[in-house]
């Protein structure tokens, strides 16, 4: 009996050793490739390093003060929030409408799902160039040629300070509405049929069921999509680099998002300290949003 216990505990110990052995390389990976760089970015944001000089001068919060007085920083931050505020709600609402209707369709829901989803998994660089071409002036751009053939006037689209940001948003919404749709569909499918049956007995119509059952019960899904969507739109970059002239976020910075400004500061001007300070700001914004989400989810439960 005694022997059995000791052999069992040595068996458990060997299992523990295996577990630690399995985790050695991954834990090192996460420390070296994820956590150390995170702290290093914080550190760099307190220096004036330009990658060429050997020394990294510690300059305290000077980068952050400079940031505060930098009109381009505020402009790009403002643009970023415009992308979130104008783009995300449209994408969410369209995603919900599509999901709601696909769920109600008797036949062909598989095909509809695929059609609406496929832009989401296609290369955004490729899609950006396709849309950039569609938006060109005549005789190149398809949209303008269609406008002309309908007897309407040409639009500047990407070359206009007022239209460019929205033109990029149309592409963005088109490419990510499929993601919202798939998550909404999963949420809708997760609602128990009993609720609807009970409501039908009470004589509820489609509209009542939508407003009193579907939408309230989708609250966790909506919160999830709102948070992940906000983060995704805050990090918008690829479309703007590929759709604007020379990737500059023009005309006149009117479409430039924060991440593009970070990218230019770090990799065109090699102002590593300043760029790092901006990534820290982005990180803090994302962290606050995530913490709010966790808080809201917790109070829901």
């Amino acid at each position: 009996m005694k022997k059995q216990i000791s052999s069992k505990s040595s068996f458990e110990r060997s299992k523990r050793i295996w577990a630690y052995a399995f985790l050695v390389i991954p834990v090192l990976f996460y420390i070296i490739i994820r956590f150390y760089p995170t702290f290093y970015a914080f550190f760099l944001s307190l220096t004036d390093w330009d990658i060429i000089s050997r020394d990294k001068n510690f300059i305290g919060i000077e980068n952050y003060i400079k940031l505060f007085h930098d009109p381009i920083f505020w402009k790009t931050l403002g643009n970023t929030f415009e992308y979130v505020i104008y783009g995300l709600p449209v994408s969410l609402i369209l995603g919900f409408i599509i999901a709601y209707n696909i769920d109600k369709v008797d036949k062909g829901s598989g095909i509809f799902k695929s059609v609406y989803f496929i832009p989401y998994i296609t290369s955004l660089v490729a899609l950006s160039w396709v849309w950039r071409w569609l938006y060109q002036p005549a005789p190149i751009g398809v949209f303008n040629k269609i406008l002309i053939s309908l007897g309407l006037s040409q639009q500047l689209f990407l070359f206009s300070q007022t239209q460019a940001l929205f033109s990029i948003l149309v592409t963005t919404i088109w490419s990510d509405v499929g993601f919202q749709m798939i998550i909404f569909l999963a949420g809708i499918k997760g609602i128990s049929k009993q609720y609807y049956e009970a409501a039908e007995i009470d004589g509820a119509g489609n509209k009542d069921k939508l407003l009193n059952i579907t939408i309230p019960l989708l609250k966790p899904t909506i919160i999830f999509l709102l948070v992940t969507g906000t983060i995704r739109y805050l990090r918008l970059f690829t479309q703007v680099l590929n759709m604007t002239f020379q990737g500059e976020g023009g005309p006149l910075n009117s479409t430039k998002p924060l991440v593009l400004y970070i990218y230019n500061s770090a990799f065109s001007r090699f102002d590593m300290g300043y760029a790092s300070a901006m990534t820290v700001v982005l990180f803090l914004i994302i962290m606050i949003i995530t913490l709010i989400q966790l808080r809201v989810m917790k109070s829901e439960n």
């Binding site: 760089p37 290093y40 599509i98 059609v115 992940t228 590593m272 790092s276 990534t279 982005l282």
Partner: protein
């Protein structure tokens, strides 16, 4: 009542089809234009008047496109294998063993999903510069070799594997590594295939980091190559559309073959919230 329902169905199908065609509009134009040449490119008619595959031949014979295509395949393939191996091993360990520090390791790995890549690319670039990883496959690949999302996904699936099966293996004298890959892994193949496809597509489309770490044109991945493509071909839009088609087609094929796994895998990201 019945007719009202069928009418509603018809309206739904009609509207979904209409908007579906609009969704596909850019793809249709992209592919149609890739088969056009000369003045035909500027025609508003969708179908090419004399369809030609010359753009495709041109793309693969007189540009760096074949390199980019190959680089993307190598990088995507290697990263996917690494993610499959490590994420499932970590997920397995975190769901099937009891040891000190388990919870904190899981939380730390999950928390890495919160760190924006934009914050990491500057330190990664400095690291790559110091270690001579710029313009190498390893340089493009190293940040993606493991993922918090994969660990989370695999851990969820391994908890459904009954412990009795693993214990049976132990009685047969298998060591823990063999128990993982001979007993547990075959039971989670659906999750593995979903993870593999999502990892491959994610890497195939990745842009920011490959853009930063590649300077030599021949080391570009497809998206980076496409971004600078316009300069190479002086706004020959039919060539840009051909390049965009070639970049999209592998994803279309994967999607047609593994539609279920892809959609379910994406849906899983939203289940937990």
């Amino acid at each position: 009542m019945k007719t009202k329902q069928t009418l509603l169905q018809a309206v739904r199908v009609f509207l979904l089809t209409l908007f579906g065609v609009l969704m596909l509009f850019p793809f249709i134009w992209m592919i149609a234009t890739s088969f056009k040449q000369g003045a035909d490119v500027f025609n508003l008619s969708l179908l090419p008047s004399n369809p030609t595959v010359k753009n495709y031949i041109n793309l693969f014979s007189s540009s760096n496109f074949p390199w980019w295509f190959m680089n993307s395949f190598i990088v995507g393939g290697c990263v996917t294998l690494s993610v499959l191996f490590f994420d499932s091993l970590v997920g397995f360990t975190l769901s099937k063993y009891q040891f000190k520090g388990k919870k904190i390791i899981f939380i730390l790995i999950l928390s890495t999903m919160m760190i924006p890549t934009e914050m990491l690319v500057i330190p990664w670039f400095i690291m790559s510069n110091n270690l001579n990883w710029v313009d190498s496959y390893w340089g493009v690949m190293f940040p993606g070799l493991m993922s918090g999302f994969g660990v989370f996904l695999m851990r969820q699936f391994f908890t459904t594997v009954p412990d009795d099966l693993l214990d049976a293996g132990r009685i047969d004298g298998l060591n823990e590594f063999k128990i993982w890959y001979m007993i547990a892994m075959p039971l989670v193949i659906p999750a593995l295939s979903a993870l593999a496809i999502l990892a491959f597509i994610g890497n195939w489309n990745a842009f920011l980091w490959p853009l930063i770490v590649s300077n030599k044109v021949r080391m570009y991945t497809l998206p980076v190559g496409l971004a600078f493509f316009n300069g190479e071909f002086q706004t020959q839009w039919e060539m840009v559309m051909t390049g965009a088609s070639v970049a999209s087609i592998p994803v279309f094929l994967l999607f047609i073959l593994f539609q279920k796994q892809i959609i379910n895998g994406i849906a899983l990201t939203g289940v937990k919230g």
